[in-house]
Symmetry: C2
Subunit: 592 residues, 2 copies
């Protein structure tokens, strides 16, 4: 059976040595209630829950075929309900939610690490509370006081759950063409009619009510994305006293059969004149939904870290135990029929790629978490402005770059197992199948890249990247000399030139940005990871224990063996868009 | 449902325009019986069979759970038996086998293209005849006349099938430590005892007998790989008159539950004193098995092409049909709610990556096929020597590089579908699951890379690569100027320097080769593909029709957008092995 032990020591290192969480919390009166001991206690509790409760349910849910649909109802895999009750009773649903509504008020810097453990051990399970938390954020941000009072406390006890209903059969990335209608009633409510697909947790048996956040168009709404409003549509209508009333006209029509995350119910939801309540202003629904979307997007990045960490631990253990061949430098274990495959450079290369990805990704998630905490808790307006810009820039990196690298990492981890990696019982192939969706949902990674290069880069003429690099340069310049320092400064120079090129070319050629977006996203991802290694290096170099000194080797490994990808990405960007756009449309499907 | 149409026009272009198959065949008396019309007729027949018979069985086999095991027997998925009978009756099992034994005697240049269609439409199905063909080659190469007469004709009628039994629970890559024993009997036969795992088609219901080729150790055999012999172990013993006799003591203990190729039965085979017959000389079994292995390894590369072509066709059709957003240059289809996603550069980038991979891969397979045909049919000793060296060099490229690039290609094709790519009914996720094994089985791609950099490069001080590059330079120098010509010459220069570095470093550091092997494999792969584009360019540039002119654009695309990977690979190789090897073994599993 697959193993997992939460990397608590690494998490503590990132949180406390690299990002000095304690100082940060103590310096902010809204966070000063939190200290390192409490934070570590929370992580230790989640380490137990993830290992002891949900890890085994991950394989059994997949093997049993996952969530089951029957006559409009969804049965979650065996054990999910008990595990969810335990999770909810532990207060985990509202770990990062406002205390005012029953949450624990923990900062994002900390919750990203707790989330990682759940993503490592049971991604299907994670999706049930995840959407609830996102829906709660959108309601908290946009809804009326009465709506908040009605829904939020029930979310954080785990009694009710939330969903996000955007996609329709003909409308995914392009939400401007949704067809779902909202017809106003005399009482201020609306009748919602339409079909939504790919609705995670649209129907399930873990909670007594499900609160759908639905995008729909009111009569005479403007065409396109400026005519979309946001509605709360509960599965069961809620009485004035908060008890459950009659069943609303919304139901799951079926669930999808998917590559992975089989324990998660991905539903087709039919709204047949279901009663809905507008959230925020008419026609401003998309902005409200993006509060939720941006949260989910960072979460997808953490899904990547979780999978990659799980894959690493299992592959490293397998490689240690598996005996094949002998070391090139001579027999290492003469008492055994063969040496551990860890003696082979190619096996180490794969494991180090995975590990280098994990440590940088985790640091990056905590860094973005800290930026989010600044936007939420800081009272310094300029700091908040900077952090908002930073989060805007880095959300697509967190979502897309962390999941792109994680998929490659899990594939390399699987390869360490040889043929056994292809056999279900080892859990590696499920890890890859479960992770693959993270590159696709919440806006495909291509769409993230277009967001990065467009709204976050060319639109501000590269200002967000420039401010990010000013921070990276300042940090690096203050380091004593090292390979990582030189690499960070060198990458800044290259990214500066590339960004200038991108900004210029996008003005000359409307097709340019879209065609080079993914390469540019990877460039900013590499910049981010080398920055994380600069920070890791700086925190580790002052400590003599092997745990810290090995981090310096890993940082050098990253610079020597992963960062070279930058050269290829840059060449592709400089090659431009013309060769991509010049072939006629029918070239692609003409009989070859 | 997924679509597939064999790319007959592209195949004809590669075979006849690029590699001038007709001239090649006519110049060789052993092949002069074959002409273009016959070759094209064969490909057209296979195009029909693959599309009309096995394509639909691919999805249904996966959905039904694949091959089923019960009390030692394996039931293949519904429809496989009828399809296999049709396949066998069409003479397809022996398409490339010697006419002397009932085969069709077709050259490899042609059979690689027929094989591609089967890999595209039903990889699980393909594996049943594939192992038979491989076993037939080993028997033809190494066995006695009597053994050939007994087994080969039955293989090519499809009455009997073959397997390759190497791996044991503790012994995969390292075959020197196998435990299966062969005890001699007085009649010259042996009793074979041991357990073999991962045996493709080890048990099934398509044929009346199964002939296992088994590696085992005779008493007092030398330790390691020099003490391994090869045995024929039939499921049913064969009487002197060729009829089936009693059941032998070999049986499937179970079948594996796998990530993909679920229609293929991957068996645990238990040999309990089963009667076996030695093939070739004692202790020379590994060399005999490598006849079969090398054949399978090229086949795995073709599995990659097949999957990537299937993925391309489906993704291009989906992208054409899917309407989301508008072109950056203005509305393209005002009559529709949105433009086809083919207007977006990022979607085109993905499709062009896949297509660029397919056309180079296919050309490469035909090129390697031609080299194999030279080794088999040419009477010019120097030509045969050169072709043998070329095949030795390029077999790991065919196996590993073509499957590495194919996996990336199928992932990109899946991404074109957005969320729908994750849903089983579209067939894309199965394509990826089915393909993934090609990087793992028949020697993992890491092992292929070590073979390339070791036996095929450092061992001969780079002579094989040098001779290959002499051919590439000669060809390129004879081309009129173009980007592809310049790129090919430029890559040769870089690979020359890299190979020299690799040869030198491997003498200084025994760990060097293993640690950089995969990067070096990709370097030689990129060299090979740019050479293929030089040849494609040269064949296409003289023809005015768009079909040919578009190939020039694709060649330029390859140079501008895919070839840059070389820069990253080279940097990694120059970074060496030290950072990979310096961490202690317990670093990898120490609690983090």
């Amino acid at each position: 059976m697959p193993i997992y032990n939460a990397p608590l020591k690494d998490m503590d290192f990132i949180l406390n040595d690299v990002f000095k969480a304690d100082e940060f919390w103590q310096a902010n009166e809204n966070l000063a209630h939190l200290d390192v001991a409490t934070a570590n206690a929370i992580l230790e509790e989640m380490a137990k829950f993830s290992k002891n409760v949900i890890l085994d349910l991950n394989r059994s849910a997949d093997e049993s075929g996952g969530a089951q649909f029957n006559l409009g109802e969804v049965k979650t895999p065996e054990g999910f309900k008990e595990a969810f009750n335990q999770f909810a009773q532990g207060g985990w649903v509202g770990l990062g939610a406002p205390e005012e509504w029953g949450g624990q008020g923990m900062p994002k810097m900390l919750t990203v690490l707790a989330d990682e453990m759940i993503w490592s051990t049971n991604p299907s399970f994670m999706l049930y509370p995840l959407l609830t938390v996102g829906a709660g954020m959108a309601i908290n941000d946009r809804a009326s006081q009465e709506q908040k009072e009605t829904y939020l406390p029930k979310f954080y006890t785990g009694e009710w759950s939330g969903t996000m209903c955007l996609t329709e059969p003909h409308s995914g990335t392009d939400l401007g063409i949704i067809k779902t209608k909202a017809e106003p009633n005399d009482d201020g409510s609306y009748n919602i009619t339409g079909t939504k697909i790919f609705i995670t947790s649209g129907e399930h048996d873990l909670c007594e009510n499900i609160i759908h956040l639905v995008l729909a168009k009111t009569p005479n709404a403007p065409a396109g994305s400026r005519g979309i409003s946001l509605f709360i549509v509960p599965k069961f209508l809620v009485n004035a006293d908060g008890t459950l009333g009659e069943r609303n006209a919304v139901a799951a029509g079926s669930i999808e059969h998917k590559m992975g995350i089989k324990g998660s119910a991905t539903c087709v939801m039919n709204f047949d004149g279901a009663k809905g309540y507008m959230v925020g202003n008419e026609n401003e629904g998309l902005a409200g939904m993006f509060v939720m979307m941006n949260y989910e997007r960072l979460s997808m990045g953490i899904q990547g870290i979780g999978a990659s960490e799980y894959a690493y631990q299992n592959a490293a253990q397998y490689a240690t135990d598996r005996l094949q061949g002998r070391a090139a430098t001579g027999v290492q274990s003469p008492e055994k029929p063969a040496d551990s495959i860890l003696v082979h450079g190619d096996v180490r290369r794969m494991l180090l790629n995975v590990r280098a990805n994990n440590e940088a990704s985790r640091a990056f998630a905590v860094y973005v978490g800290q930026q989010l905490d600044i936007t939420k808790y800081s009272t310094d307006a300029e700091a908040v402005r900077k952090a908002n810009d930073r989060v805007a820039l880095l959300t697509p990196i967190a979502k897309a770059y962390l999941t792109d690298t994680a998929l490659q990492a899990t594939l390399e981890a699987q390869m360490c197992f040889g043929g056994h990696g292809y056999i279900r019982e080892w859990g590696m192939e499920q890890c890859i199948r479960d992770l693959r969706i993270a590159q696709i949902y919440e806006g495909t990674n291509g769409v993230q890249a277009i967001d990065l290069i467009g709204r976050k880069t060319t639109k501000c003429s590269g200002a967000f990247v420039a401010e990010y690099m000013a921070e990276i340069r300042e940090f690096s310049n203050n380091m004593p000399d090292s390979k990582v320092k030189q690499a960070a400064l060198n990458v800044c120079e290259k990214v500066e030139a590339l960004t200038q090129f991108v900004v210029e070319q996008s003005k000359l050629n409307p097709n340019f940005s879209n065609a080079v977006a993914v390469d540019y996203l990877h460039v900013v991802g590499l910049l981010s990871f080398v920055y994380m290694y600069a920070r890791i290096h700086e925190a580790a170099r002052v400590k003599a224990e092997p745990f810290y000194q090995h981090k310096l080797v890993l940082a050098d490994y990253y610079v020597a063996k992963v960062l070279p990808d930058l050269a290829a990405r840059a060449e592709r960007i400089y090659a431009g868009a013309d060769l991509i756009m010049q072939l006629p449309q029918d070239y692609f499907t003409a009989q070859a």
